[in-house]
């Protein structure tokens, strides 16, 4: 790891000012950032530790939504009674991230700021049409994810919380890479008042909504309807784990499994 200066601000305003001044990176749980810094894939000269910011913590029911503080760890979300009661699909997704030790440290805010193309949280945020609350504004899910490891966040913008509207039904189904456990394909399906949303992670350079599946499931919210959709393989990832056609097939299969588990 290259040397860096560590800052430990006590307020969001101080943290944002430090990020603006130094051009550094914000540190949440660090389960991706520290690993990337060790490999010298990331080499920030300044690191701003967000762990002292109380405003980024806490999980609350707020009307028709569940608000999850950015520094909530995956394990906290998986075991939260508020989350399990309102949106059990979110708790189940959190419980399936990485392994126990990673879930004990990694955070939802860190994952969303990183926007790994195979991460699980982006599928939930886009699938549930969540709102990302930052220190500057509220960003709707459809405007937040911009591409591989790219988001709408400015360099000095910090995620404070994520607000998930409570759906009628929702579920996440992941086909994990057998070695890394990252999603080869993960599909989040949600049925709510405004309709059906289907978000896919792992299959392309960034999370995306699958319109053909949304249309099919809006007509009939059944596993058979999902399975019958032939997803276009154009633009999907090709690597040693799977071809675009294989991933396209998996998208329909995982959507069908998600619909089944949504009940």
């Amino acid at each position: 790891m290259y040397p860096f200066e560590l800052h430990r601000p006590a307020s969001i305003a101080d943290a944002a000012a430090l990020l603006a001044k130094t051009g550094g990176k914000a540190l949440a749980g660090g389960q991706s950032l520290v690993a990337a810094m060790k490999l010298r894939l990331a080499q920030p000269g300044h690191v701003v530790d967000l762990s002292g910011l109380a405003e980024l913590k806490g999980i609350r029911r707020e009307g028709d939504a569940v608000s999850i503080g950015a520094m909530s760890r995956h394990a906290d979300i998986a075991s939260s009674d508020v989350v399990k009661g309102a949106i059990p699909a979110l708790a189940a997704l959190a419980e399936g991230i990485g392994d126990r030790q990673v879930r004990n440290v990694g955070t939802i805010g860190g994952s969303l700021a990183n926007n790994d193309p195979a991460a699980d949280w982006p599928a939930a945020v886009l699938g549930l049409n969540a709102t990302v609350h930052t220190n500057k504004r509220k960003v709707p899910a459809d405007e937040y994810f911009r591409g591989m490891y790219e988001t709408a966040l400015a360099d000095d913008e910090i995620i404070v919380s994520v607000s998930f509207p409570v759906p009628k039904k929702a579920a996440y189904a992941k086909f994990p890479n057998p070695a890394s456990r990252f999603a080869l394909v993960g599909v989040f399906v949600a049925l709510s008042g405004p309709g059906v949303r289907v978000a896919v992670t792992g299959a392309a350079s960034s999370v995306f909504r699958c319109k053909p599946l949304e249309d099919a499931l809006a007509r009939s919210f059944t596993a058979a309807a999902a399975k019958a959709v032939k997803v276009d393989a154009a633009g999907l990832n090709a690597d040693l784990h799977g071809s675009p056609a294989y991933r396209a097939h998996l998208v329909s299969v995982m959507a069908a499994r998600a619909v089944t588990s949504a009940g």
């Binding site: 860096f4 540190l27 660090g30 690993a35 490999l39 530790d49 126990r100």
Partner: protein, 157 residues
């Protein structure tokens, strides 16, 4: 610029001054001499470096020492009683021979205790699932799983 930390390690207050890039496992092994915590893959995958931070199993090779500032850290050296009596989970690993080369063992024991704290009556399937973050390249896990089940029963007494 160095950062100063104060934390509790195995019940003792520790004050340390470290380069910010120091990993928790480096602080434990190199500065505090607690070499029971091992570095296996050094990429956050194998779990040999697992310790408890505020009661939760974490991979100490994937955490900056500074992230443990103010925390209560327990390593394998902190498990035995003052008279040297092993923790029930350590004893179970010994009795069931839940190891071969022993390299992964300390991380396995630390993960196993976190697992049993959350699932006191864990089934074999739960034990196997919960040990996902700990790799053993010798044993095929059979005796490790047996040891965790026996350790869980002993911890309940």
């Amino acid at each position: 610029m160095a950062v100063t930390l104060s934390l509790t390690v195995n019940g003792k207050a520790v004050n340390a001054t470290v380069d910010p890039r120091t990993l928790l496992v480096e602080l434990l092994r190199n500065q505090l001499g607690l070499t029971g915590t091992h570095v296996g893959c050094d990429t956050g995958q194998c779990g040999a470096c697992t310790v408890h931070v505020d009661g939760r199993a974490v991979k100490s090779c994937n955490l900056l020492a500074a992230q443990a500032n103010g925390a209560v850290v327990v390593t394998i050296e902190g498990l035995a009683a003052a008279d040297g009596t092993m923790h029930p989970m350590q004893a179970a690993f010994k009795e069931c021979h839940g190891l071969q080369c022993g390299f992964c063992t300390t991380g396995m024991v630390m993960s196993a205790i976190d697992l049993v704290n959350r699932h006191p009556k864990a089934s074999e399937a739960t034990i196997r699932e919960e040990l996902e973050g700990n790799l053993c390249r010798c044993t095929g896990y059979h005796n490790i799983v047996k040891a965790v089940a026996q350790g869980a029963a002993a911890m309940a007494k």
